[in-house]
């Protein structure tokens, strides 16, 4: 039988499938569908210090094989999330990862410190790449210097492994990735959503109040896969790949270009049991392709 375990260096996961931030609620929403213990890890929806209402509706519209979202990181604030995490931890042994957000560098560090101190939290993912906070989609991950400064500041106050989540909406994602790992990131995750635009022709207006929104889902997979490959070629820390994964074969594609593990996002919305199916498919595909261990194909793309 195929061995699905993944060694991140600082932590081993039972398989490479991690549920992506913002697409798996706070974990609890999926308890009716399957036993969360089967997952590699769970990432919480992005969190700020204070509760946030999020953006006005509409917040999510469909595109061909994808969705554009402008949720605006609605959330209960970090105090309430601690309670939720404690509750979730009693229901599953799967590592819980907190997706840390901030309006400014100080808030990022403050929120990271709070969750780093929690026993129930396995790692942190620094969300420096959300396009739905500022109008125009600006975020720290668009700039290598800002990324380095922020990662260094956060590293100083956390004791847990720090994953830094990168944005595809930058001129040179490899440069930002290098800056993040040089500044102390323990792993990189990519990509967050692609900036996109939807317009209402009748009203001559953008569909979203924030004008631009983030594109995800199967439509983005080829774009994301290329960026993951580019970053993997130059990184010395583990890379967690994502964008448009909806099958076991998609997961293996990401591993082949060098990803250590993956995250699954949008698919959770239209198929709440997707993680179970995908993990099953990885095993069957590996058996079919006679791959015993994921490291046999990791980064083995031949060009």
């Amino acid at each position: 039988m195929a061995d699905l375990t993944v060694d991140l260096g600082f932590r081993t996961l039972k398989n490479p499938v991690i549920t992506a931030s913002g697409t798996f609620g706070y974990g609890e929403e999926f308890l009716p569908f399957f036993d969360l213990d089967i997952l590699g890890a769970i990432i919480m929806k992005g969190i700020f210090r204070e509760p946030r209402p999020g953006n006005p509706p509409p917040r999510l519209v469909e595109t061909p094989a994808g969705v554009l979202n402008s949720i605006g990181l609605a959330g209960p604030g970090s105090e309430k999330l601690q309670e939720i995490i404690r509750r979730l931890h009693t229901r599953t042994n799967t590592p819980i990862i907190v997706n840390v957000c901030g309006e400014d560098d100080r808030e990022f560090a403050e929120v990271a410190a709070v969750f780093s101190a929690m026993d129930e939290v396995a790692m942190l993912e620094l969300n420096i790449s959300c396009p739905n906070i500022k109008k125009g989609g600006a975020c720290p991950a668009q700039d290598a210097d800002h990324t380095a400064r922020l990662v260094r500041q956060v590293k100083k106050v956390v004791g847990k492994p720090l994953i830094v989540k990168l944005s595809p909406n930058t001129a040179d994602i490899v440069e930002v990735a290098q800056a993040a790992q040089d500044a102390g990131a323990d792993a990189l995750s990519l990509v967050n959503t692609f900036l996109g635009l939807a317009v209402d022709l009748e009203k001559r207006k953008p569909v979203f109040a924030n004008v631009y929104a983030g594109l995800s889902g199967p439509a983005v997979k080829p774009l994301a896969l290329r960026l993951v490959r580019e970053v993997c070629r130059r990184s010395y820390v583990p890379v967690i790949g994502m964008g448009g994964i909806s099958s076991g074969r998609d997961v293996l594609d990401y591993i082949l270009v060098g990803a250590a593990a993956v995250q699954i996002g949008t698919v959770n919305f239209y198929e709440p049991g997707a993680a179970v199916r995908i993990i099953g498919e990885i095993e069957t595909e590996m058996d079919k392709l006679q791959i015993k261990n994921l490291s046999e194909i990791r980064g083995k793309l031949q060009t």
């Binding site: 569908f33 999020g54 509409p58 917040r59 519209v61 094989a65 949720i71 609605a74 919305f269 198929e271």
Partner: protein, 256 residues
């Protein structure tokens, strides 16, 4: 809450844009209550990607009934399904209409908004006095009338904007008179936003217990995506899929 593979038993075109499906979905049917809805995957392909929310017209184990209006791509695909076809259905989702035993309840249904109220009347009509106020643009928008006549109702009031069926006008034109003359204790409404806003205005400070079932664009239907929000009267957002779809009428900030 289940992700169940339903089997289509009957598929009827009711004329115009309206369709009715009878589906064997025993696990969902076993627990569905009036007000609950389901998310259906109209196509196994990636087009459209997201499921579509639909109310339950009726649920009598092992069957559920869906009644829908073709609006766009997803509902159009749904109308192509035939008996024997399978359909992935997630449900039952959301909260329910309160039962309110002993109360005189007026159901206010605009167009396809009849769906959860029909379910309510079917489930509770025999145990309490129920009245139904049902309106649409024209006769063709009220194709469920024959089925409605099989419900246990103490009063039925029909409105159409063009007068082709029942009284001419908006159903809200008749609302105040019915509430007054029929000594209504509570109302449950479902329909277009403009209709619900008008209902809210007309029923304001009358001391009735009022509920409305809302629609919203939904990404998941079970609380995970935070896309389906409506603005509440207190300025905060509510998720329609898991905090609703049924809300006290006064709790919502209606745009008039």
């Amino acid at each position: 809450m289940q992700d169940e593979r339903g089997l289509i038993e009957e598929a009827h075109s009711l004329g115009g844009d309206y369709f009715l499906l009878k589906i064997a979905a025993p696990r969902i049917a076993a627990t569905a209550k009036p007000g609950n809805f389901v998310m259906v995957r109209v196509s196994p392909s990636r087009d459209p990607l997201l499921r579509r929310p639909l109310g339950l017209l009726e649920s009598r184990p092992p069957y559920i009934w869906l009644y829908y209006q073709v609006l766009g791509h997803g509902t159009k695909l749904l109308s192509g399904l035939r008996p024997g076809d399978g359909l992935d259905i997630l449900g039952p989702l959301g909260n329910t209409f309160p039962e309110l035993p002993g109360k005189r309840v007026l159901l206010v249904a605009g167009g396809r908004g009849i769906v959860p109220l029909f379910h309510y009347a079917r489930a509770y009509g025999e145990h309490r006095p129920l009245l139904l106020l049902y309106g649409g643009r024209r006769r063709a928008d009220l194709p469920l009338l024959e089925r409605i006549k099989t419900l246990c109702l103490q009063g039925l009031f029909i409105f159409s904007e063009d007068g082709s069926l029942g009284q001419m006008g908006l159903l809200t034109d008749g609302l105040e008179k019915i509430v007054r003359e029929e000594r209504v204790d509570a109302t449950m409404s479902c329909g277009p936003e403009a209709m619900l806003a008008r209902v809210a205005l007309l029923l304001k400070s009358r001391g009735l217990e009022n509920r409305a079932s809302l629609e919203a664009l939904m990404g998941c239907g079970f609380g995970a995506c935070h896309s389906c929000v409506v603005l509440a009267a207190d300025g905060s957002y509510r998720k329609v899929c898991d905090e609703g779809p049924v809300f006290p009428l006064e709790e919502i900030q209606w745009r008039t």
